[in-house]
Amino acid sequence: MAGTDGRLPSGTLSSKQPGSDNRLALMLGAIALTLLVLSASGLGDGAFGALRTGFNVITTPIRQLGSLAGLPFQGVGNAVLNLTADQKTLSDLQQENELLAARNAELEEAEQTARRLEELLGVQSSYNLQSIGARVIALSTSSWQSTLTIDKGAGAGLAVGMPVIGVAGVLGQIVECYPTSSVVALLNDENSSVSAMVQASRAQGMLVGAADGSLRLSMVGTDQQVAVGDTVVTSGLGGVYPKGLPLGKVSSVERNSSQIYLEIGVSAFASATTNEEVLVVTSLTDEQKASADEVTQASAQDAAQAQQVVPATDATTGEAGQAEAQGAEEQTAEGGEQR
């Protein structure tokens, strides 16, 4: 019996007509050979190209499906290739990887710089500042001062007294100007002071730095409304800083019945360590200076505070009262800024 030994019986379809099978094989073989010759000679390139294009269009969804199913197998293939990679290949790849990592870091740096500059341009545009861009090249070299050095100086049109701002707000003021660089005293420098006001209540004061690096809003009378979280902005008095630039946020307010001024702590918006590019304001427009009304209002506030100080001085004959009264007069007269 044919089936039992695995051989097909002689009467099967395939072995009934061996001649016809041979003819079929020859015919199909000849067709295939013709296709091969046409393909190899380039004669049928157009037709074959069209055929392959059509075939690929039809089968693309299946290929896409397969690429998902084939991921594990591809991983195995890659793993085998990695195992058999020679030392030179690995070394080359490692070197290439290091180069790409360095290049990637460089590009990320460039992207961040571009973003910072874009933000600075936004600041310049929103406050309509006449300014020059500069790059921070050094921070304080002395523990006695809070300064930074920028890469533009007198040669670029900068001068002592010009305010410097970062993306988040005011950074400080130029205190030394060289031909190719300038030194900027930061807001929290002990010798720094800026005419400021509380944005919500319009209470005028002086933002001064301290040796411990903190900021204090002084000369704000106890009758003024100041709350923690209020924004402190430049007042424009004195004509050095443009009006309305953000300085910081009120972090603490202390009312002492024996004092005529509030003790207001301020945390600065801008930090020297996070600014690599800055804007130096070269001139102010009329809108950026304090208006006559604001000067009058500041004078009235100072006068009211001075009247409170005089009786207190009379009563106590203290030096503190005299000093505060003198400070109030100075605020109105000079408008603050660098002391």
Binding site: M1, A2, G3, T4, D5, G6, R7, L8, P9, G11, T12, L13, S14, S15, Q17, P18, S20, D21, N22, L24, A25, L28, G29, I31, A32, L33, T34, L35, L36, V37, L38, S39, A40, G44, F48, L51, R52, F55, T59, I62, R63, L65, G66, S67, A69, G70, L71, F73, Q74, G77, V80, L81
Partner: protein
């Protein structure tokens, strides 16, 4: 006779399923099953399965169509695999033996020889017609991994055919087992 018709019908369905599986595998799995640049050839697997189980004109036509399908799915020379699989179908199928009923070792020997011949011829022809630049690369990075993958991919099909034969059923992918339709007296 009715038994014959029923078996022919199931054999036809099985053959169609086999074709669909191999076509899907050729398009979807083979490009992603890559080893040293060599790919599995499911057209070869299909032709070998049909040639070793049924043979005859069916194997020749299957070889031709599967080869053409392979050529269309690749960027190699058109008609080359078509010619090779037509010849393979004719030669392996000419013996008229159900090789799945033989010992697995003999089956593997025939298939390995077939796969090696087809892959070697394909790579040599590719070099000759200029589709492959280096003979060394064609042999080492395409021929050997290709044969290896062909063997690996044949295993599940062979296992299925062998199970059909062992179970004595002719249902499935058209394999004629020891107790298939050819055992029916009168045929």
């Amino acid at each position: 006779m009715s038994m014959d018709l029923r078996d022919s019908g199931s054999s036809g369905v099985g053959f169609a399923v086999l074709c669909v599986i191999c076509a899907f595998a050729q398009l979807a799995i083979s490009p992603n099953l890559n080893l040293f640049g060599g790919c599995a050839n499911f057209a070869l697997v299909l032709t070998a399965c049909v040639a070793m189980s049924e043979g005859g004109s069916k194997a020749i036509i299957t070889g031709f169509c599967a080869g053409l399908f392979f050529d269309l799915s690749t960027v190699g020379p058109m008609g080359l695999m078509c010619l090779e699989l037509t010849v393979l179908g004719a030669l392996v199928g000419a013996s008229g033996r159900n090789r799945f009923a033989e010992s697995p070792l003999a089956l593997a020997r025939v298939y390995a020889l077939s796969a090696a011949s087809v892959e070697l011829a394909y790579q040599l022809c590719s070099v000759m017609v200029g589709h492959s630049g280096s003979l060394w690369d064609a042999l080492v990075f395409r021929f050997l991994p290709g044969v290896f993958l062909d063997l690996v991919c044949f295993v599940p099909f062979a296992f299925f055919y062998l199970r059909q034969v062992t179970a004595g059923s002719s249902l499935g992918f058209g394999g004629k087992g020891r107790r298939g339709r050819f055992d029916t007296p009168g045929l």
